[in-house]
């Protein structure tokens, strides 16, 4: 079992009859699909794909798990993630405040590589399985700490019908409606 070279050569110049035959093949194949189109189109946003759980969509922070190690900000290839300092009550000394660092994200820069999620030692970051969210202005794409903890509203889900895209042996991709709109 090893790769090997397969030397081949093309068919030689064909006769007129071959030409006529292949013309007929082409036209028949065209008519076959014209009659039975086997469409693949996803009528987005009336239907939207329900992506798998492992999809690398928007990244959300679970603040209570964050240990302020800044690994996510350091590994971010596009410098989308930055650490900010916030003041919050110190659990050990009630009544006193302490400074703590948390990551925030700039979705103008994020490339959804998921390095931050994978590098987080406490699993404080996770992906949601959607990514198609439109912002009215660029400033909204800077997420502050509050926004970073909430999953963004998935507006497509309000308008459309979720479908799961399944690989099919005959039709390529088929759309299977998903019942729950969660």
């Amino acid at each position: 079992m090893a790769p090997r070279v397969g030397l081949r050569s093309l068919e030689k110049r064909r006769t007129l009859i071959d030409g006529v035959r292949s013309n007929i093949h082409v036209l028949m194949l065209g008519v076959k699909y014209f009659v039975n189109p086997r469409r693949m189109t996803l009528v987005y946003p009336r239907e939207y794909p329900k992506l798998s759980e492992g999809y690398r969509g928007f990244i959300i922070l679970k603040k209570e798990k964050c240990i302020s190690c800044a690994a996510c900000a350091r590994i971010c290839p596009s410098a989308a993630m930055k650490m900010i300092r916030v003041q919050e009550p110190d659990p050990k000394h009630p009544g006193k405040a302490k400074m703590k660092q948390y990551p925030v994200i700039n979705y103008q820069r994020c490339i959804f590589c998921g390095y931050c999620v994978d590098v987080c030692p406490t699993e404080a970051l996770y992906h949601v399985n959607y990514h198609d969210i439109v912002y009215d202005n660029l400033a909204d794409m800077f997420w502050d700490l509050e926004t970073f903890q909430r999953e963004p509203e998935y507006k497509t889900a309000a308008e459309g019908r979720p479908v799961r895209i399944v690989i099919h042996e005959e039709l390529g991709l088929v759309k299977v409606p998903v019942e729950d709109k969660a």
Binding site: P3, G6, I111, Y115, V119
Partner: protein
């Protein structure tokens, strides 16, 4: 015309290589700048000089989408360039980053475990099919065959779907990391992959009828843009373009990496050297990649799951990471990877992308950044073929030759 002899097509025998000076415009020669803002040029400019309807000179003018990949690679550590280098050819992301990862692995002295190697090969072949289908689509629309364009783009979606299930991203997978890969196959993936393989086999038959044996397309491609074997060798073409000219050169055979030497597949080679032969090489390669996917998926299903990162990295995993790897099949990165230091030295990574051989020369001075990353992409090596394949052909052959060379400017300009 100042009485000089023009050589249309063919090439001189005495020197072997025809010399084409770039400034030789006669009065009856019409200069046409095709691109970069042109529906049929891609992100580049081709300056052609036509005498009547015949191209006498062609100059590919590259550099329009130059993005300083090599320089950017020097300032962001060792692991962050992976998503960057993907941007050279996003539809071929795994193939194009794997040699870099392998070069870094050589410097670090780590090696991916066997399962990770199979996973890498799996994604590489999925990418190769997607890349060929993409090139095929562009090629078809160049020839005005919009149906094949849509078909190839639509069927590419099947393989993008596969890659998405595997890695979580449609195109920029950032999948291989030094020492392994980032994810194991999800539940139900082998069956999905087998269905995709069976589907694509059926579709290749229809492609043959609709496109390859379509009399219009055949007459457009047969005998067009012939690059003879010795010219192809002299110009240093790589990938399907070289294999279409009868040169059996494929890194997967010359210097098998990962687990390619354990797999059973053929590297198709055609001797004609024309546009049709190059097209057939790609179609055959899709068929062979399907075979590889089947074998790899069988192996992955049969063998028990094991860590998909190198032992030296796995040793350092905290229990949480080990649990995630077991339950979700997701290999976590370790925080030191962001700013890791790689022992000084130099390494070369070679790999076969969809368009041909890619070479990374990675040099480390022991610091947190690569000292130098030199990238030689396949398209950068193939672009010279324009200058030699175009002259002597008609203007209408330009898209046929361009498409058959599957030249991809963002990859060549880096």
């Amino acid at each position: 015309m100042s009485g000089e002899v023009r050589v249309y097509g063919g090439w001189r025998d005495d020197l072997g290589l025809r010399v084409i000076p770039s400034k030789r415009i006669g009065k009856d020669v019409y200069e046409v700048f095709i691109g970069p803002q042109h529906p049929g040029s891609g992100h580049m400019r081709i300056i052609i000089r036509v005498d009547g309807d015949v191209i006498v000179e062609a100059d590919p003018d590259i550099g329009y989408v130059h993005r300083t990949m090599e320089k950017l690679g020097e300032i962001r550590g060792w692991i962050k360039p992976i998503p960057l280098f993907e941007r050279m050819a996003i539809h071929d992301a795994c193939n194009i980053t794997l040699p870099y990862v392998r070069a870094v692995e050589k410097l670090m002295g780590v090696e991916a475990p066997l399962r990770a190697k199979y996973l890498r090969v799996l994604l590489c072949e999925i990418n190769r099919i997607a890349s060929h289908l993409y090139g095929f689509a562009i090629f078809s629309i160049f020839l005005g065959h919009s149906t094949m364009y849509m078909w190839a783009m639509g069927d590419r979606e099947v393989f993008i779907q596969l890659a998405e299930e595997l890695t979580g991203a449609r195109l920029t997978h950032s999948y291989p990391i030094p020492g392994g890969v980032r994810r194991d196959i999800p539940q139900g993936f082998p069956d999905m992959a087998r269905r995709a393989v069976r589907y694509m086999r059926k579709r290749l038959e229809e492609y043959r009828k609709m496109f390859l044996e379509n009399p219009v397309i055949r007459s457009r491609l047969e005998g067009v843009g012939v690059i003879p074997k010795n010219l192809a060798a002299e110009l240093g073409l790589v990938g399907p373009n070289a294999r279409g000219s009868g040169i059996a050169y494929d890194v997967r055979i010359i210097e098998p990496y990962e687990v390619y030497d354990e797999l059973d597949f053929e590297v198709p080679v055609y001797t004609e050297g024309d546009a049709l032969a190059r097209t057939y090489v790609r179609v055959e390669e899709i068929a062979q990649s399907l075979r590889i996917i089947e074998q790899v998926v069988d192996w992955l299903e049969k063998k028990p799951r094991e860590p998909i990162v190198d032992e030296s990295i796995y040793k350092k995993y905290p229990p949480l990471h080990k649990k995630i790897l077991e339950s979700q099949g997701r290999a976590k990165l370790l925080p030191w990877m962001a700013t890791m230091k790689v022992p000084a030295g130099a390494a070369i990574g070679r790999g076969e992308t969809g368009r041909g051989e890619i070479i990374y020369y990675v040099e480390s001075d022991g610091g947190v950044n690569p000292y130098r990353v030199r990238i030689v992409t396949p398209s950068a090596r193939n672009v010279i073929a324009f200058k030699y394949a175009l002259p002597g052909h008609r203007v209408m052959d330009l898209p046929a030759i361009y498409g058959s060379l599957d030249y991809f400017p963002p990859e060549a300009d880096r």
